[in-house]
């Protein structure tokens, strides 16, 4: 039995004008760390809300832990943990009070499942009497995670848990998720950060309500259709203009201190390219073949 399953889910807003989910089908295995990767407006939150029984789909079926999202919604609500995109705990209750509240609502106690949240909670403990509204962004995130886990759910839904959070806190959060995975909880995470995709076991790349590809990050990278090169020069702005006006270059996108390019023409070799760039007056050139990142793959799929 799959932990989560969606079949032809359709969800629209504004009388069909906005297609948030456009015939979405996929499944997640028990204990898997699954990533839903896409920008704002791609449909991630709508899908998560349908799965956590907070939103009805227009059509299609879905199940979580064997229960139908429409007919068995009450059972699902007892078995899942949900951390929504915006901080939605009680700002004027303390850390302790929030945790107690959620434990009670789920008919359990903090003590009963403390082992599960212990590693996260020890970081919050020094602030346990502080009001949730006064916590830092990173601490709020940790508290929200604890509250979502307090009843030992079978499936955990994390909607953009690292959005707006800095690089260091993001790393820490993913370390916590890896530890949780060892407890056998199925974890679905949505994120717009492409670099986080490689931390998942399988990912679904989503854009404008449609799934573009689902697979392991490794396989998605293997499926990239062209050779990819990283190019650098002394004047990156000029380099970009030169590359983009070259008819033999299929795509050119900036990636930090390199531009990533694909070539349209097998005749164009690295050596030819170097010569033509030198002729344009560019210096300190570097061209090397590279393995694509998930971001390269995502952009390639967007363009297809």
């Amino acid at each position: 039995m799959k932990s989560v399953e969606l079949n032809n889910i359709v969800k629209t807003y504004n009388k069909g004008e906005i297609k948030a989910a456009n015939n979405v089908s996929f499944s997640v295995n028990k204990g898997e760390l699954f990533g839903l990767i896409g920008a704002d407006g791609a449909g991630k939150t709508s899908i998560f809300r349908i799965l956590t029984t907070l939103l009805l789909p227009d059509s299609g079926t879905a199940s979580v832990d064997g229960c139908d999202v429409i007919n068995d919604y009450r059972t699902i609500r007892k078995k899942v943990g949900y951390m929504p995109g915006k901080f939605s705990l009680y700002q004027d209750l303390s850390v302790e009070e929030n945790l107690n509240f959620f434990a009670t609502v789920f008919d359990t106690t903090i003590a009963e499942n403390y082992e599960l949240i212990k590693d996260i909670y020890v970081q919050l403990e020094p602030f346990k009497t502080r009001r949730a509204g006064k916590l830092s962004g990173g601490m709020k995130q940790k508290l929200a995670l604890c509250c979502a886990l307090i009843h030992r759910p079978n499936v955990l839904f994390l909607d953009e848990p690292t959005t707006g959070v800095d690089v260091v806190s993001r790393k820490e959060f993913w370390e916590m998720l890896k530890t949780l995975k060892q407890q056998g909880i199925t974890i679905l995470v949505s994120t717009p950060y492409m670099d986080e995709a490689t931390l998942c076991e399988r990912i679904a790349l989503i854009q404008s309500g449609s799934i573009m590809m689902i697979d392991t990050p490794g396989q998605i990278i293997k499926n990239y259709p062209d050779k990819l090169y990283a190019v650098k020069a002394d004047n990156m702005s000029r380099l970009q203009n030169v590359l983009r006006s070259n008819a033999q270059i299929k795509s050119c996108y900036s990636f930090g201190d390199f531009h990533h390019i694909t070539m349209d023409n097998v005749q164009l070799t690295v050596d030819n390219l170097l010569v033509s760039l030198q002729n344009e007056g560019l210096n300190d050139l570097e061209v090397k073949e590279i393995i694509p990142t998930i971001e390269d793959c995502f952009m390639n799929l967007m363009n297809s």
């Binding site: 896409g38 704002d40 990173g138 959005t163 690089v167 002394d234």
Partner: protein, 266 residues
């Protein structure tokens, strides 16, 4: 072909060349903001040059927002001095506001006005004449290819287009400096790069860009970066020099090196 080490030298020379040749548009001297006992911004001292793309980085809680609010004339410093576009941070906040643009993820445009209405509204506030407004409005719509959408409500646009539009509106009055607070958060990777094309175009026109971001590849697009940690500026240099100093190959690693020792979570 290997990267020429001299390239790094020429970039840092470029940094100091900027200070000789170009105008200083932001100058702070021990700028400080205290909330009771808590020192949110602790004596920050730095300069930003005209037409520069300046990355203002830092972990959450490091003090970036507090600093930016002061620089935009929205919050009075506790001590220290600063001039923004030549105007004093204590006595000339209204002039500061007239000479800067601002855009953030949280607020950009009025969702229930059309594109044209938003342009007219902000253009009016920025003091553009009717003629200037007409010209700039057409230019903007042309550049972004929004002819079909011009009379649609902003909330009907996809996020990426909204962000590009918001940026274009923020520089409608060709301000000296535009402050961008995480402008590309959550946007798809192609639109993100188109956004940066707009930033380059504005910088080419001489508009100084003061941008904060959580995307470390975007840090590479900046001429210089400053990193705030626990209310102080712990580093300020070109991306290339920062990477060399910390012996790492990406800005991601530079950030990690500087931010992980931070005592403050917020």
């Amino acid at each position: 072909m290997e990267l020429n080490k001299d390239n790094n030298k020429s970039l840092s020379n470029a940094g100091s060349q900027l200070s000789v040749e170009r105008e200083v548009v932001i100058k702070t001297d021990k700028l400080t903001k205290r909330f009771g006992d808590f020192i949110a911004t602790n004596q920050i001292t730095f300069e930003v040059y005209s037409g520069e793309i300046f990355g203002f980085l830092g972990a959450n809680g490091a003090g970036k927002t507090t600093a930016m609010k002061m620089l935009c004339g929205l919050s009075k410093p506790s001590s220290g001095n600063a001039t923004i576009a030549g105007f004093d941070i204590y006595r000339q906040t209204e002039q500061i506001k007239r000479h800067i643009g601002y855009m953030s993820q949280k607020f950009s445009l009025y969702e229930d006005l059309t594109i044209v209405e938003n342009i007219q509204f902000f253009g009016g506030i920025y003091g553009l004449s009717d003629q200037q407004l007409k010209t700039k409005s057409n230019e903007l719509i042309e550049t972004l290819g929004l002819q079909k959408e011009a009379n649609k409500l902003v909330n009907s646009l996809p996020l990426g287009w909204k962000q590009k539009l918001a940026f274009s509106v923020a520089v409608l009055h060709e301000p000296r400096i535009v402050f961008l607070d995480e402008p590309t958060g959550g946007v798809d990777p192609i639109t993100r790069r188109q956004f940066w094309d707009l930033i380059y175009q504005a910088a080419d026109k001489g508009i100084t860009i003061f941008v904060t971001t959580h995307y470390m590849d975007e840090a590479e697009y900046c001429n210089r970066i400053s990193m705030m940690v626990d209310g102080e500026i712990k580093a300020l240099d070109t991306p290339a020099d920062l990477k060399q100093k910390y012996a790492v190959s990406s800005m991601d690693e530079v950030f990690y090196e500087l931010a992980r020792g931070a005592k403050r979570n917020e």
